[in-house]
Structures are given as structure tokens and as C-alpha cells.
Amino acid sequence: MFRKVGIIGVGQSVFGVRGDVTIQELAWEAVKEALEDAGLTQRDIEISIVGSAGTRTYELYPAVPVNEYSGFSEKGPIRVEAACATGSAALAVAYNMVASGFVDVALAIGVEKMNEVDTATSLAVGGRGGNYLWEYHFYGTTFPGYYALYATAHMAKFGTTEEQLALVRVKNQKYAAKNPKAQFQFEVTVDDVLKSRPVAWPLKLYDCSAITDGAAAAVIASEDAIKNLHIDTPVWIEAIGYASDTANITKREDYVGLKATRLAAQMAYKKSHIEPKDVEVAEVHDCFTIAEIMAYEDLGFVEKGKGGKFIEEGQSDIGGKVAVNLSGGLLGKGHPLGATGLAMIYELVKQLREERERGRQAPLKKYIALAHNIGGTGHYGYVTILRR
């Protein structure tokens, strides 16, 4: 029987180009904040889980240096990798260790340094995010290219427009502009997006998340430990759903949605007895604008094919059916692979505690939040449901 598990401390570094710090120095920014937020020290943490895709940094085994620098040398680390869903995988491992009774208090760290190499190298690493031998080797796939394949198919089948895609960026920049930890703190117009240079047609520069350095961390604990530590504002992990899909993109069922999202969401909704309509605030995986539109559909916020309309009607904004990506999302805040899943948790914990800045705090009645984190092009899917 699993124990109830809560999040008691969260931290996030400033996201962006962080040429001023090493990977361990960057991780510490998030770890320090998470420990202070929980009111704990390293002594209270029994194990650390370090998530880092680690494909662009000179530190090829990043978990140990990160762990040592943060003062956890004897406590783990368990290193996890699930491409862009690495942060959620770290949380899932930490959750399972606490829920199963293996430990009472655990720390999940997600960190990524992506700007130590140039953009062409970064594209070559991302383009290997499927099955190198049958895709990149022959055809020079890129990460934007993979999602562009989905955008083309979604537009062809449902009439989704480039303007609707652009509206995702416009909404997310509105909130990124108010987020002091976001990489891009400014607003954009539909026209700015449409006129940005093509990256992988039909996706343009502003349809794409950037190459970002960042870290995030969460301290989680069992219900008993939370009582003993006198924590008064825990955010409970109601469920974590997970799924995966084929490495080869040619083997997918279709190109208009992500099966990994649908399966992970089904699992999370079923485990938590929460329905899509109960979710008030969500952080969804908008690595590209098309990804957010597909997420609305695959998470059950709106039926398949109506994602474009959903953004157009403002249903994913504050005042709509569900407030999505009030952090600015991956598009506005940045997408440091290993950190992203935990940065979603950071944002949602702050939202559920109603600690957000004016203009980007979701109005809450049920205090139910959802994080949706995808690794690769739907290769991994994690859906985490939180409640205060």
C-alpha cells in the first residue's frame, strides 16, 4: 500500500543563457531555494535523485558533481534520464521511494546546461532524439523538424492555422513577461511570430522553445514526516501517470496527437479520481506551439482537433476552462531539458499556495493542478496531478 506523499519545498534557478555558472553551481541555486522553502537542511534529506539529459555538457556524468556540490555526497544520487521529461522522471523516482516507505524525505533535482556548445551541435544532439540509425543518419532530422511533422499533419487534418499556433506563443509570452525567472521576459504579437524566420516549416523561430540553461528542485516527504516536521502548506501528489511510444517516428499511429500523453493522462486521472474538467491550472509541454495545442486535446481539456479553437477562444487562459502555462511555459520560460519537469512542479506548487505575482496567479476553487511533461517527440509522457 502506497503512502501519501507531499511536496514541501521547491526551488528554481533563473532560466536563460547561464554562461556565468557551471552545472553544479546552477543546480545549487535551485537546491538552496528548495531546502530553504522546506525549512530543512541536507541532514534531513535521505536520498537525492538527479535528473539531467546531460547530452550537451562537458560533464558527462553530471549527477555526482551536482550532488557533491550541493552537500549530498553520501546520499545517492540516483541519476535518471528521460530526454525532455527527465525532471518528471526524477520526481517519479523520488515519489516512489517515499510512497513505498524506502525513505521518508527525498530530493529531486533537475538540471541542464545546453549552451556550452554551439547551436549546430545542439541541433545535432536534439536531432538524435528519436532513432539515430534510421532517422538522423539518413535524413538529418532535427527536434523542431519532428514536431513540425506533427504540425503539418494537424493543420492538414483539422484546419489548424499558423495564426492559432502563434496565439500559443502570444499567451505564454504574456505570462513570461511577468515571470522574473523566465528566459524571455517580453510580450509578442501574432505578427511577430508569423514573421519570425522559418526553422522547420511550418514552425518558425517563435513557434519553438529556445536552448536554455536552468535547474529546478523539489523536496518531497511522507505524510508522517510532514506532520513531524510541522509543515503547514504541503502540496499533495495525487497521482503520477507515465507512458511511452515508439522510438521510430514512422511507427506512430498518427501525427495529430501524442499517445504517450493520452496514456499517461488516463493513468493519472484514474489513479487520482480527478477528471480533466476539475483541473484549474496546468503546466503543459509546449516545447513548440503545436505541442501545446495537441496537449489540450490529448489531456482531455477539449476534443481532438479543437485545440486551435480552444486557444482562439481563450479557454486556456486565465478566465477560461483551464489556465495553462502561467509560468510562460517552455516557450517563454525556457526549456532546460532535465529541469523542465521540476520547473513545472515549482510553478504549480507556487500557484496552489497562491504565491504568484499579480496578473499571473490562477483563481482557484478546487486547488487542483496538472503537470504534463513529454520526453522526445512523445517518446516519454508524464502527467502529474497535484492538490493542496
Binding site: V21, A124, G140, A148, A153, K157, Q185, T250
Partner: protein, 160 residues
């Protein structure tokens, strides 16, 4: 509002400091193809092969020598048809390391027989005129820069 004025409002986090260079590391992998050599040889002859499990009938493309469903490694190779239908495509403008020298190229996925095949859609000037559902013919082409053969698609009934 002028462009210059607007640019200054665009607050972006970019923190730089003193750096040193790492000792460079170069990866150049040797990829085993002994179990799929038929495929690689086929491309040189303009043929595209898939495999079928002789035990349970499962079809694999890209080809693989082992069938995880029934556990058999008794497979047969068969040639795919030379015609297909476009399921989706993109034109890669931001090109990765190793592909910088190519003009922006179109990666497409076509339904070919019972499987889907990735390839480069060639001889297309304007990708906006290409549509999902367009019919294509398949052939293979030699790419000198990488010393490899790839699959190419061409639009069957139209010019773009």
C-alpha cells in the same frame, strides 16, 4: 513604436562571464550492420527492403532481425512498393551539424504498402504547395558527403 525602441524592451536572460575551453572530445562511431546488411545493399540497387517474421507474420520497417512479439529470429526480406502517399512533411531550415552544407531539405513520411517510410522529398521549390495525401514515387539517391544512400520521394502528379 520604432524597432530600436521595442528591441530594448525585450528583456532576455543572457548572463556571460569568463570561460575556458574544455579538452575537445570527438565521437565517431562504428555502427554494426551485419543483421541489416541486406537493407544497406538494397539501397545501392534502388531497392527498399522490409522484413517479415516467418513465425508470426509481423512486418518491420525499419527492418530488424529479431521479432520481439514471438521471439523468433527467422525473418524474410521483401521489397517495398515504389509508390506511396504523403502522411506528413517538413522543410528543415535550421540545419544540424553534418548537414549545414545542404540546401534546406524536406523530410517526409509516406505510407508505402503496409508501413511508413521516411525520406527526402526532392525537386520541390515551394513546400506550401505540397499537401498531405499527395502521391509520391520512391527511389534512392547517393549522398556523396556522407557516403550513403538515402530514400527519395518525388511528387507523382504535380510540380511544386
Amino acid at each position: 513604436m520604432g524597432m530600436a525602441e521595442r528591441k530594448t524592451e525585450r528583456k532576455t536572460i543572457k548572463r556571460e562571464g569568463p570561460v575556458i575551453d574544455s579538452i575537445p572530445i570527438i565521437y565517431k562511431h562504428r555502427i554494426p550492420i551485419s543483421k541489416t546488411v541486406k537493407y544497406w545493399d538494397g539501397l545501392k540497387e534502388g531497392k527498399i527492403y522490409a522484413v517479415r517474421c516467418k513465425s508470426c507474420g509481423a512486418v518491420y520497417y525499419p527492418p530488424q532481425a529479431d521479432c520481439p512479439y514471438c521471439g523468433s529470429s527467422d525473418i524474410e526480406w521483401f521489397e517495398l512498393p515504389k509508390e506511396g502517399v504523403l502522411e506528413t512533411f517538413t522543410r528543415i531550415y535550421a540545419r544540424p551539424q553534418g548537414y549545414e552544407d545542404f540546401e534546406p531539405y524536406i523530410i517526409a513520411i509516406a505510407k508505402v504498402g503496409d508501413v511508413r517510410v521516411m525520406g527526402w522529398l526532392v525537386n520541390v521549390k515551394d513546400e506550401r504547395c505540397v499537401k498531405v495525401g499527395d502521391e509520391v514515387t520512391l527511389s534512392t539517391a547517393y549522398i556523396e558527403k556522407h557516403n550513403k544512400y538515402i530514400i527519395t520521394f518525388q511528387l507523382k502528379n504535380k510540380q511544386c
